[in-house]
Symmetry: C2
Subunit: 424 residues, 2 copies
Amino acid sequence: MPEPVGFSRRARWAGGEPIANLLMARTLAQPELISLAAGFVDYETLPVGPTRQGLDAIFSDPDRARAALQYGTTIGYLPLREAILERMLHADGQTAREANVSVKQVVLTAGSNQLLHLVGDALLDPGDVVLCGAPSYFVFLGTLANLGARSVGVEIDEHGVIPEALEEELARLEAAGELGRVKAIYVTTYYDNPSGVTVPAERRGALVEIARRWSRHGKIYLIEDAAYRELRYYGDDVPSLRSVEGEADVVIHAGTFSKSFSPGIRVGWGILPPELIEPVLAQKGNIDFGSPNVNQHLMAAVLQMGLYDEHLERLRDGYRAKIDATLGAADEFLAGIDGVHWVRPEGGLYVWLQLPDSIDTGLCGPLFDRAVEEGVLYVPGEYCYPGDGRLTKKNMLRLSFGIQSCESIHRGVEALARAVGQVL
Amino acid sequence: MPEPVGFSRRARWAGGEPIANLLMARTLAQPELISLAAGFVDYETLPVGPTRQGLDAIFSDPDRARAALQYGTTIGYLPLREAILERMLHADGQTAREANVSVKQVVLTAGSNQLLHLVGDALLDPGDVVLCGAPSYFVFLGTLANLGARSVGVEIDEHGVIPEALEEELARLEAAGELGRVKAIYVTTYYDNPSGVTVPAERRGALVEIARRWSRHGKIYLIEDAAYRELRYYGDDVPSLRSVEGEADVVIHAGTFSKSFSPGIRVGWGILPPELIEPVLAQKGNIDFGSPNVNQHLMAAVLQMGLYDEHLERLRDGYRAKIDATLGAADEFLAGIDGVHWVRPEGGLYVWLQLPDSIDTGLCGPLFDRAVEEGVLYVPGEYCYPGDGRLTKKNMLRLSFGIQSCESIHRGVEALARAVGQVL
């Protein structure tokens, strides 16, 4: 008989692979299914040409190539960190001084996911609390569970987390003697995954003010997940949450090139309040000793050669057509069904769909299998709700339009509408 | 006044950046110093040509390039996992059936460090014990501290961890009622960092037998760190610890292309006992969602095109000259000093030097600053001892011959001998 294996608490809290992987596996196994679930990016616009040009620039110069093939530093390649900071300042219309930020605060990671995990690791003990919009990015919710932390939901509207609801939740936690356990508020500020909403400028200031005012028993950070900022197809850019905090130093800003360039290259970053730099780097040093150096040199070359901005224009054109296809198909096939609603995102990769209250979208509900039979896969909304579960809705689902063609999106939404019609 | 920041216990346990980073930073800041400390690999033999050929093969085929630029899976790219397994089986002279292993057990990570961290995360709660040779790889000792686990030292000789000493330590822990907290024994089986020793075949069997026999209160794993296996300059290869375990399923095998190909590409792997696959992947899914896909495709191409083996020959020739230079200089400058000893490694990147008992090699001891003044940097041996400290020796130091030229190695060892002479 095999000996019992003593897995760690964290291993038990991790609780199997994230739902994204489960759904991705399901997608890969059934290629005939139209997956509006997987968070993959568009295959056709992956930057083969720009990547090749960037690699050629590096590898045609042996010294430069060797520098890329050697170990880097834990914090990451300085020219790339400088370029990232410069881009953010430019987008926010600020100087480094106005933004109260320096390149020392910019840390490179394996996608923004790793940054989120490192920050969680550095801040959260088991039982600590992170306030999250209900719904929120489910991978981060899984990360919090893995750390033994509690994700507590806050109501959102079409502009993201509602400041008044956030205050109410903080007051409730304070009344329960738990304000000291609240370490952070997590907000995807641009084209939220899954809700698609963007936090408007005025609400950003309110969030910073709330975080500061409630930091009575210890600092409460605002984790700004800006993964989708550059995937803007309509409307204007909004200055980052980072840019409106002044000298508060409460915002942890996370960004990535995974969505806007290539997830296979997997370079993300964080812009950290000064006191977090050392603990996050210590944690990263223990985990992987620095992200792959060659990938960082590549992204630096791509940015410096102007290839990134060119690519971004093509990418936006491609996704603009896809979001139009998604919303157009929803108008065509779903608008007529009572109780079906959605917000029209101006960017990102997701449309968050509300179905009639009576429809449970979960894997065990009536819709999911019906939808698969009709030929479409979605992410059941219930996975996107914080762990405390108080605000979980069973009648929501997430549609991703990243990987499918406009034609497939159209057929997929049509299939979904058929399934909904059958269940009603 | 700023609010107090509540860092996590893990952040406090991380305790600053690893010593490697501190020393690396010191190295970078003083280029005139001959660093025999940094674990960087040889700059001249970094595989510029092979990498470029591998990248060309991928990026000249748009479909293949797009597959590399898209998200991969958490476990990693199947053709690379297959190639890694095949190489190991070939080196061990076994079939997959004889080795009781399948490709499902092969997981790709960001260097072998990440694998070690993931395994630690999946197995270790605060207070759990990992038995480690005294000395051991200091980055892994830092990882254990970061997890709140205890590293307990076991005496080594010129063949690595001494089985009898391991038994004694296990008996001591059992007597203290702590056998149930022992989760693993960590062994660098080839050309250990820092000691340079290789565990001979017969001792490998003994280690497996001990791990099995002492798994009375729960499974005790053997973590086999094989990072340096392919950096063999003299003598014969030895079948892996993994290969001698039969159906025990106690060995966690860690490997990497960082030392044998490029640390900037940063692809490592683990071969895991079946029950560990799911928890390790769950943890990896939470941390980074899979290592960069393009790097995995690149390494698969490099292996498949035969470029890796060609490179390995060149690399071994280069390092053979360097280890000869190191040992030759030691013979020339250090052999005459009473109380100075070293083992002659047959591979790897390190020579572990014993100085007279009276010499403290630490940063605050008399030798370190004298050595820097003379123009050479080394790693003080005290950083390489497990956290319990019972076996820590103050008169040891590690020399790395990876980055320096033969001529610099010669001058560096000569400078060290001058410093030792002055201190005596």
